[in-house]
């Protein structure tokens, strides 16, 4: 086993940052801690590195209880969001730092630094200072510095958070490949679900200091186990609904309620919430009476997809259509369209619609 945390709890005054969190990372795997800000993900990473002391719980590194070890003895590589390079040292000196602390022979250090410069594709940059590098290059130096002493585990705290979108994507893909090469047990913290899905072997979804779900990226995406996970992973539409006699109704009664295309034969009557991802709503121009229909009130081009805003009985829905489909249908503002859900998630809203909506709004997943 690479890393395990058991029952980890950390309080800052009255605020419970980490609340009885347990998970394991297999040797050599890359795991993402995914959650919104304040979900406790960075704190967990800092506890694993020994930079923060847990109030309860234990940290195991390669099978050994390391809870009381000082940071210096844990042999973890740590990469910060803002690189945290030693500004007064050259790239070479930065990478060599950990090896020099260990007083390794000079030749060995030189060879290892060269090896890492090649690994992070910075050959020939050894004599530069951090200020002479771009953001992406700096983060690669930080990674090389962390990897140089062959750490037990690699911990990355929002490693691409300070970079612009394009650099971030390249670097994320590159990190995935690099991890295949070096096979060091790694945890990386992110609030970006696409990043997590793209590069990790497993994802731990965190919310308010608790684990919401642990699983492979596909599992998390296709079979979210909680409302939070469903709404956080991939920005789902949140539709408030009422179950009445086996029919799921939604919308403003004043505008005429609509029946959602959901099989509800054996559902108890009561309040509910339906979550549908923008890409799981299929639009069609054919108008048939029994179909659900809405009016297009907004169209935005987002690189490879169009984001369409649809209104239906006072409910605003976000729909994404790929470029080809959009062009063949030729959607226009004000046009009516019928919609079906290719996939959805149904939840009972025990806490009531307002409370649930309020919670999702506070977390920033709906507007």
């Amino acid at each position: 086993m690479g890393i395990a945390v058991q029952n980890l709890t950390k309080r800052f005054g009255d605020f419970i940052a980490v609340d009885h969190v347990s998970f394991e990372v297999e040797q050599g795997k890359l795991v993402a801690l995914l959650g919104p800000s304040g979900s406790g993900k960075s704190t967990i990473l800092r506890i694993i590195a020994g930079l923060e002391e847990p109030d309860e719980g234990a940290v195991f590194l390669t099978g050994t209880d390391a809870t009381t070890w000082p940071t210096q003895k844990r042999n973890v590589g740590f990469v910060f969001q803002h690189y945290a390079l030693f500004k007064h040292m050259t790239v070479r000196k930065n990478i060599a730092f950990g090896l020099e602390v260990q007083k390794r022979p000079r030749d060995e250090i030189r060879a290892r630094v060269e090896e890492l410069l090649t690994l992070v594709k910075l050959d020939g940059y050894g004599e530069r200072y951090p200020s002479q590098l771009s953001g992406g290059q700096r983060q690669r130096v930080a990674l090389a510095r962390a990897l140089a002493p062959k750490p037990r585990v690699l911990l990355l705290d929002e490693p691409f958070g300070a970079l612009d979108a394009k650099v971030r994507q390249n670097l994320a893909a590159w990190l995935r490949d690099l991890h295949h090469q070096v096979q060091v047990t790694s945890i990386f913290v992110t609030h970006d679900q696409e990043e997590a899905i793209e590069i990790s072997d497993r994802i731990v979804v965190l919310n308010r200091g608790r684990v919401e779900q642990i699983g492979k990226p596909e599992e998390i995406y296709d079979r979210p186990m909680t409302k939070f996970v469903a709404s956080f992973i991939g920005h789902a539409n949140v539709i408030e609904a009422t179950v009445q006699g086996g029919r799921v109704l939604a919308g403003d009664p004043g505008l005429g309620r609509v029946e959602l295309p959901i099989a509800a034969d054996n559902l108890e009557s009561g309040e509910a919430v339906v979550l549908v991802r923008p890409e799981d709503i299929v639009l069609a121009a054919t108008m048939q009476n029994h179909d659900l229909r809405g009016v297009i009130v907004g169209i935005r081009y987002r690189g490879d997809v169009y984001e369409i805003t649809l209104e239906m009985s006072g409910i605003s829905l976000r729909v994404s259509e790929d470029k080809d489909r959009f062009n063949s249908e030729g959607w226009k503002l004000g046009q009516q369209a019928t919609l079906t859900f290719s996939r959805y998630k149904f939840f009972r809203a025990e806490e009531g619609h307002d409370a649930l909506r309020e919670r999702l709004r506070n977390l920033g997943y709906i507007e």
Binding site: A49, G50, L51, P70, T71, Q72, K73, R74, N75, V76, G77, F78, F80, H82, A84, L85, F86, K87, H88, M89, F97, G98, V101, Q102, A142, R145, A146, P149
Partner: protein, 280 residues
């Protein structure tokens, strides 16, 4: 730099080259009037009767003693206040404790209080009948009107310089780099020497330069505390003042020029060093 800044403020106003030149001439003229002219006047007067006269002005045990006293006091003040200043800065930036805001303000007190007032505070405290002075006196240790008093007064007036220069760089630096060093196996001590100190070095060097300049030139607090006893507690500034009031103008001018020269050379050295290292 200066005039391009002015142009940015009023982008619509097109300045003629003549306007620009007049502005530059005006600024430089003002600087010359305020700084260069007095320095020139002093230099002229010091060398007015020839280089031998200049040197004769520096002769005498009183002058030599005064300069040595000032140099040693300065060295002591710089060493102590560099160490204490850095510790104080670390305390203020990195730790939270009760009354921190108040403490943060009090650190600046030596800036705000007149040096003469500072001197009197130490008389009250360490004078022969003072709160603590009584005890020292009983133990046969003289503080006021003796060397310890001079050192304490100088330490007091130069206390904030290093702290004030180091606090912002330390704050800007954050904790990340130090924490990375810990994860790479470096102890706290090694991290301080290899990571923290090099990162804050320019703030520290500037703080040390200011401390040195102030310690060399301190007059008011030292005057009150030392009693200005010739060849015993008279520092360079007190010596200059003494010679001047005794109508020994040549001695006053020569000593002034040397003291000013030392400060000027130190400033040049700092700038030169900074330039050389910044290029690296």
């Amino acid at each position: 730099m200066e005039h391009s800044g002015m142009l940015q403020v009023r982008p619509t106003a097109r300045r003629t080259p003549w306007g620009k030149r007049a502005l530059m001439a005006g600024t430089l003229g003002w600087f010359a009037l305020l700084v260069l002219l007095p320095v020139a006047a002093l230099s002229f007067e010091a060398f007015h009767s020839g280089p031998l006269a200049f040197l004769s002005g520096l002769k005498g045990e009183a002058a030599a003693h005064a300069f040595w006293l000032t140099i040693w006091t300065t060295i002591l003040a710089v060493v102590v206040n560099t160490i204490m200043g850095v510790l104080l800065a670390i305390l203020l930036v990195r730790h939270n404790f009760f009354g921190k805001t108040l403490f943060d303000g009090i650190v600046d007190l030596p800036f705000a209080v007149s040096p003469v007032v500072a001197g009197f505070m130490f008389i009250v405290l360490f004078g022969p009948q003072g709160w603590l002075g009584k005890w020292f006196e009983a133990g046969g240790v003289k503080i006021v009107f003796a060397l310890p008093g001079i050192v304490i007064a100088t330490l007091f007036v130069t206390l904030p310089f290093v702290t004030r220069e180091v606090v912002p760089v330390l704050r800007e630096m954050g904790r990340d780099a130090e924490e990375v060093a810990y994860t790479l196996g470096a102890s706290r001590w090694l991290t301080f020497w290899k990571v923290t100190l090099p990162t804050i070095r320019w703030g520290l060097i500037y703080g040390i330069t200011l401390t040195t300049a102030r310690a060399l030139g301190e007059f008011g607090a030292v005057l009150v505390v030392s009693g200005s006893i010739i060849k015993r507690t008279q520092t360079a500034t007190l010596h200059i003042h003494q010679e001047f009031t005794d109508f020994h103008y040549q001695a006053a001018f020569s000593a002034s020029l040397v003291l000013g020269g030392i400060s000027f050379v130190l400033l040049l050295m700092t700038e030169y060093w900074k330039k050389r290292h910044k290029e690296a």
